[in-house]
């Protein structure tokens, strides 16, 4: 096989992917292993880009906040991990993150694998939040902030509440079964 043919094929597929993302309004995306330093750099470039587009500082901060909460969720909880010696500090967690615009609304979508055993817990957590209004979310946030986090939580267990408070409509979520161990969990948060 000619090397040039292989290259053409690859460019074609990448261009199709690029077009597909643009059609969905997505202007930033990352798929692969994520880290804290990568998060800080992604945050910087997103802030710069939104500033150039004259987004207001509260909006920029809200989008940044969604990216932080969701990326740290992936870093802490993604079931897709490459571990070394079983030491959690050396695990690399993988996921996908995309930021885009739909009309005058920004959205941050993320996806990662989760253990099938965690699906019900996540579903019920997010379903409850979707029914709450701003005042209820505020009270729930303050109440949870004073409690000790549950066993599964590596942070404060406040991430989704924080996101629900910053989003302009209820957070959308979806679970797609992958195999008998994992499901693909995706979350979409809208910001104005």
């Amino acid at each position: 096989m000619e090397p040039s043919i292989l290259l053409d094929q690859m460019n074609f597929n990448l261009f199709a992917l690029k077009k597909e993302l643009a059609q969905q309004g997505i202007f930033f995306e990352f798929s692969g292993p994520l880290s804290q330093t990568l998060l800080a750099e992604m945050g910087d470039i997103l802030k710069q880009k939104m500033k150039l587009e004259d987004a207001s500082s509260p909006t920029i901060l809200k989008v940044f906040s969604m990216v932080v909460e969701q990326t740290q969720n992936i870093i802490h909880y993604s079931a897709e991990k490459m571990g070394m010696l079983g030491e959690s500090r050396q695990d690399l967690s993988s996921g996908i993150i995309a930021v885009g615009m739909e009309g005058d609304t920004y959205f941050v979508i993320t996806g990662n694998l989760v253990d099938n055993n965690d699906v019900d817990h996540l579903k019920s957590k997010l379903s409850v939040l979707a029914t709450m209004n701003a005042e209820e979310l505020k009270n729930y946030y303050k109440e949870q902030r004073r409690l000790n986090p549950d066993d599964r939580s590596k942070g404060a267990g406040l991430g989704f509440i924080e996101m629900a408070r910053k989003a302009c409509k209820p957070i959308e979520f979806d679970f797609v079964p992958v195999d008998d161990r994992f499901s693909f969990f995706s979350v979409n948060a809208h910001i104005q």
Binding site: L39, S57, P58, L61, F64, K138, R145, G155, A156, L158
Partner: protein
């Protein structure tokens, strides 16, 4: 009593607790990967030193541009330690400093303020 000084990074704030000037400063952004680990020495210092230090007027200056949800929890834990001292009659006050165009920093300051009964917690708009 030792001074606690932790320089700021991109995702952790400057911590400068200076017993000589009775000024405790937390300034910057706070979204570490492991919040409990980052704040452990801060909480340790407060538990070891604050009671003695705040027998004279002591000021806490907090200017946090952005903090993630797990930092929010730790900040509440810190304010509760301050609240205990204030309740015991210690002379401690917090100035929560925010930029006029950062409405969330102001709102989040207000939400801490609402949950504190004994601690003097002032919202201070930064002059730009």
């Amino acid at each position: 009593m030792n001074r606690l000084n932790i320089p700021a990074t991109k995702y952790t704030p400057l911590i400068d607790f200076d017993p000589k000037s009775r000024l405790l400063v937390i300034q910057g952004e706070s979204y570490p990967e492991n919040t409990a680990e980052f704040y452990a020495p801060v909480i340790g210092w407060i538990k070891d030193n604050l009671s003695l230090l705040a027998s004279e007027p002591t000021i806490v200056e907090m200017e946090i541009v952005y903090f993630n949800s797990s930092s929010s929890k730790v900040l509440m834990d810190i304010f509760e330690l301050f609240e205990d001292q204030a309740k015991a009659g210690k002379r401690l006050k917090v100035n929560w400093i925010y930029d006029a165009d950062n409405e969330s920093a102001q709102e989040y300051g207000e939400e801490f303020q609402e949950d504190l009964e004994h601690l003097e917690f002032n919202l201070v708009e930064k002059k730009s």
